[in-house]
Amino acid sequence: MTNHELAQPELAGVQIEEDSGDLSRSEVILKGALAAGAVYGAMSVAPFVSRALAMSGGGDVGILNFALTLEYLESTFYKEAKRRAGASGELKSLIDLVARDEDEHVGALTETIKKLGGKPVAEPKFDFPYNNTKEFLQLAQTFEDTGVSAYNGAAPQIKSKEVLAAAGSIVQVEARHAAAIRLQNKEEPSPQAFDPSLDEAKVLKAVEPFIQ
């Protein structure tokens, strides 16, 4: 048990369950969060669930699981967009390409977490509120820019050189997606000379509204 979990009194009650079934560690944490939500009120559930998901495992595995959650979000978002975004032509090709890349990121992160002896987080359920191509593109830009900042913020905390190299290889691809989506929105592909980095809490705040 990590210090982080000890610091969360809500979790104390669910630790018993950890070895009692085939629930993944993150599911156990998730269940604890839901139980906590019943105690503290529904409003507190979403932030805590996300944080619990993100922190599960700690260290490189924790960071990889945080990244996996974001990649699940992006992968689902673009997969859905194939039928929902009303895209055609160049944008349709772009959506197909990005969907494939995000899907590969999910696969690679999942395998890497397993190789490091960790447990990949379960795929969350998402809800993406957009009604047309324009709204889809705005959301896509937010996700891609946030993704870049999330990796850039987390990467300096990665211990393993190999994991860092892999995260770098993914974040460059996210940056490329971000630029391409921005061009679709007629916005600057690189708005500033230095991409900002975001810490985990800020990233989770940004994506929370889309996690059910």
Partner: protein, 223 residues
């Protein structure tokens, strides 16, 4: 769509030795496999040395730019000087107007900011910033210039990617990463203008070691 992309990728591989090397390194396109090879070995010393070998350039950077983070920063600074000079020359060439010119100015301005930041970092670490190289670029027509811009940016992004795991200081690493993704953005924007794939390596960007990068930019450095 997939067939067309493969054709493009293969023709690129055929004419570009850098791409060919990358293609081979990826085992013919299985990027996910390469990713796992990079992460998954149980023998950490083997992994580290083979990763370093794949990235290359450790010795080259030490020899030409010095040891440790200062060496890496001065190597990056040299590349940023090159990019800045390239965009400045392109603006002066009069080959571009309108929104293309605006993009080139914007990218050039960002490269200049990278020069300033890297110079400050080298000084902060007690090092001596690398001198600005004298450069010369073939600026024949707008198409070839855009192609060269695409090559330089994609190479720059690959160069940062290779160095990131070698950086010791978390602050230097954070700075390098914030520049790295901007180079990635530039690359994708130029690839879009050129009608090429925004992610020529697929879902996982491929690093380029210093030896390879320096060899590629050598033709543009006069002194």
């Amino acid at each position: 769509m997939a067939v067309k992309e493969e054709t493009n990728a293969l023709s690129r591989v055929a004419k570009d030795p850098v791409s060919r090397r990358k293609f081979i390194a990826l085992g013919g396109g299985s990027a996910a496999a390469a990713f796992l090879v990079a992460c998954g070995s149980d023998d950490s010393s083997t992994t580290t040395s083979s990763t370093a070998a794949a990235m290359g350039g450790d010795a080259v950077i030490e020899e030409k730019f010095g040891k440790g983070d200062v060496g890496i920063l001065n190597y990056a600074l040299t590349l940023e000087y090159l990019e800045t000079a390239f965009y400045a020359d392109v603006v002066k060439s009069g080959l571009f107007k309108g929104s293309d010119l605006a993009t080139i100015r914007k990218f050039g301005g960002e490269e200049a900011e990278h020069v300033t930041a890297l110079t400050a970092f080298v000084k902060k670490l007690g090092g001596k910033p690398a001198p600005k190289p004298q450069t010369e670029f073939p600026l024949k027509n707008s198409k070839s210039v855009l192609e060269l811009a695409g090559t330089v940016e994609n190479l720059g992004a690959a160069a940062y990617l290779a160095q990131a795991p070698r950086i010791k200081s978390p602050e230097v690493l954070a700075a390098a990463l914030s520049i790295h993704s901007v180079e990635g953005r530039h690359s994708a924007a130029l690839n879009t203008l050129l009608g090429e794939s925004i992610t020529p390596d697929g879902a996982f960007a491929v690093p380029a070691g210093a030896a390879e990068v320096l060899k590629s930019v050598e033709p543009f450095i006069v002194s």
